[in-house]
């Protein structure tokens, strides 16, 4: 049973000065599973992603990926091992074109530029952004950047994909489009963790969900059951204006 757990987060804590942004959190991701991670603003979701992807080092606790402890590894090493991510606040390479942004991601596993270009073109095709390939990162719109970030992460050929609020800031039409894209990605069999405030996304895609509140894990269940959790109702009704 434990070998099907591709990521195991064990008693993970991150302090920022006096603040415990992530407080003794233990979660796991099964191979091939899509996991939802929800919680109010400031719950510690992004901080958890930052630790899993090596951007931040935890204060204490361990993160195991494919049986190897990674909490002390550098971000580029973790990427090489097979964890890809997007950023809640998009982080494009502004002077590169969309294709070059994705190509840069593909170079890790395909060091020849021509090969990486081919891989990148296949991915942006799948995400429906081929027509933008020569547009510079600085000139892309938010939804285009969000797709670019997904494409760039996929180009590193990850076993686990971490998606941080890819829906935020998009209009309803764009959300429907992107949801379809995410469905396609899920069907490739990759393991995914999704942070999302839009419940429809979690309900549609996630096999299981965790709820964080002020750094602490407060619930774990199927998306439907999690929605009925009192804390979730409380925080999401309170935030409806934000969530939809």
């Amino acid at each position: 049973m434990s070998e099907e757990r591709i990521i195991v987060v064990d008693h993970l804590t991150k302090r920022f000065g006096g603040l415990k942004a992530v407080d003794d959190v233990s979660i796991h991701l099964n191979r091939g599973e899509t996991l939802g991670l929800i919680g109010a603003n400031g719950a510690g979701k992004t901080t958890l992603f930052n630790m899993i992807s090596g951007v931040l080092k935890p204060t204490s606790g361990t993160i195991t990926f494919d049986g190897v402890e990674i909490q002390k590894k550098k971000a580029h090493e973790i990427c090489k091992m097979g964890i890809g991510r997007t950023y809640q606040i998009v982080q494009p390479f502004t002077t590169l074109t969309l294709l070059e942004n994705v190509l840069a991601g593909a170079l890790m596993r395909h060091p020849r530029v021509a090969d990486a270009r081919e891989v990148a073109e296949g991915i942006i095709d799948m995400l429906g952004i081929s027509h933008l390939k020569n547009t510079k990162g600085a000139s892309l719109t938010l939804i285009q950047l969000k797709r670019m970030e997904i494409a760039r992460a996929l180009a590193t050929e990850p076993k686990v994909l971490l998606l941080d609020e890819v829906m935020a800031g998009l209009n309803p039409g764009e959300r429907v489009e992107l949801l379809e894209t995410m469905q396609k990605i899920k069907e490739t069999g990759i393991s995914i963790i999704i942070i999302e405030h839009i419940m429809k996304v979690i309900m549609t895609l996630a096999d299981r969900a965790y709820v964080l509140n002020q750094g602490c894990l407060i619930a774990e269940d199927t998306p439907q059951k999690v929605m009925e959790h009192p804390e979730v109702i409380k925080s999401y009704i309170g935030e409806r204006h934000y969530a939809s």
Partner: protein, 344 residues
């Protein structure tokens, strides 16, 4: 960094480059006055150094302000190697390059932990430290360096001693310039080039797509240092003397950087363009007005730099390119078919 869409066809820019190259090789045959060749050599070496600085300062976007230190190290090692009877300055030149890389490695390791301005300042500090060491001692490890007096290189005129007359130097430095442009182009269009561009614009995102950021910055810095050192070794043999005020001077480091930035840092031709335009102006004024222009030149650079950084961060080269594209756009209106993709 985009490639032309019609990459297999010979573009006008290839013809332009070829023409430029032929012109550069014929120059000493057409213009034979030593005065002009002298200026040409100086301008060429600045083109070379600016291109070398461009690898770390332009492609990798790390403002290594004190990188002129590697010019000095290359120069001193090559001269001392010969003076102390170890062998030809050619071997000394390569050794100077290797020693520069070693220094670049040791110095940059802690410096790359610093970002932006602090990194720049750390490289400047290293330059000053090395200059004061050279100025403060008359001999180093038993080798005569004569402090501030510097070292005179006895004239022999033999190529083994890296001496070949003005025309010879012109061609040697021209070949070095061509080589560094080839190296830059290989870097630019390879994995390393894409990685450096990524690092330049967003280090955080770069590391999460698997880029070992410190490693690639270090590679850029070491290649840059090696090339700067080779240039230093050759140039002082042209001058027949090596002085710490020149090769370890802050001015030299600044000039190289300014030529590159004004010409267009991070582009292949920008540094050459900048050094050509500013170098020719500078050298002509220096010869016409004497050394009085030094402060004037600094003021001029200051103003030019502010204007470029503010209004044309891509430098003169990209400014020119934009103009050409504009003219093309207004001439032929069938731009829908041949979409010009900028080729940096």
């Amino acid at each position: 960094m985009s490639k032309t869409l019609l990459k297999d066809k010979i573009a006008p820019k290839h013809i332009l480059v070829l023409a430029l190259l032929v012109l550069a090789f014929l120059f000493p045959q057409i213009v034979t006055q030593p005065y002009f060749i002298q200026i040409a050599i100086t301008v060429l070496i600045y083109c070379y150094w600016s291109s070398a600085w461009n690898i770390i300062g332009g492609y990798a976007g790390q403002f290594a302000l004190g990188n002129g230190v590697y010019i000095g190290i290359g120069a001193y090692v090559a001269v001392l190697f010969h003076q102390e009877g170890f062998g030809s300055p050619w071997i000394g030149m390569v050794l100077g390059g290797v020693i520069s890389v070693m220094f670049a490695f040791i110095i940059s390791k802690p410096c790359f932990k610093l970002r932006g301005t602090y990194f720049s300042l750390a490289t400047v500090a290293f330059l000053h430290i090395v200059r004061y060491i050279i100025l403060g001692f008359n001999s180093i490890f038993g080798m005569e360096t004569n402090g501030g007096m510097g070292i005179m290189i006895p004239y022999t005129g033999r190529w083994q001693d890296m001496q070949f007359g003005k025309e010879g130097f012109y061609y040697v430095i021209l070949v070095m310039l061509v080589l560094i442009l080839v190296v830059s182009n290989v870097i630019r269009t390879s994995k390393m080039g894409y990685y450096l561009s990524a690092i330049k614009t967003n280090q955080g995102a770069a590391s999460t797509i698997g880029i070992n950021v410190p490693k690639y910055k270090m590679m850029a810095q070491c290649i840059s240092a090696f090339c700067l050192a080779l240039g230093g070794a050759v140039y002082v043999h042209f001058l027949l003397n090596v002085s710490p005020y020149d090769v370890f001077g802050y001015d030299l480091s600044l000039e190289i950087m300014i030529y590159c930035v004004i010409g267009g840092s991070g582009t292949l031709w920008g540094p050459v363009f900048g050094a050509l335009v500013l170098g020719i102006i500078n050298e002509t004024l220096r010869v016409q007005l004497g050394s009085d222009i030094a402060p004037l030149a600094s003021a001029f650079y200051g103003v030019a730099l502010i204007l470029i950084v503010r209004f044309a961060p891509g430098g003169l080269y990209q400014l020119g390119q934009m103009l050409i594209n504009k003219i093309k756009g207004s001439l032929g209106k069938k731009k829908s078919e041949t979409k010009e993709v900028s080729v940096q």
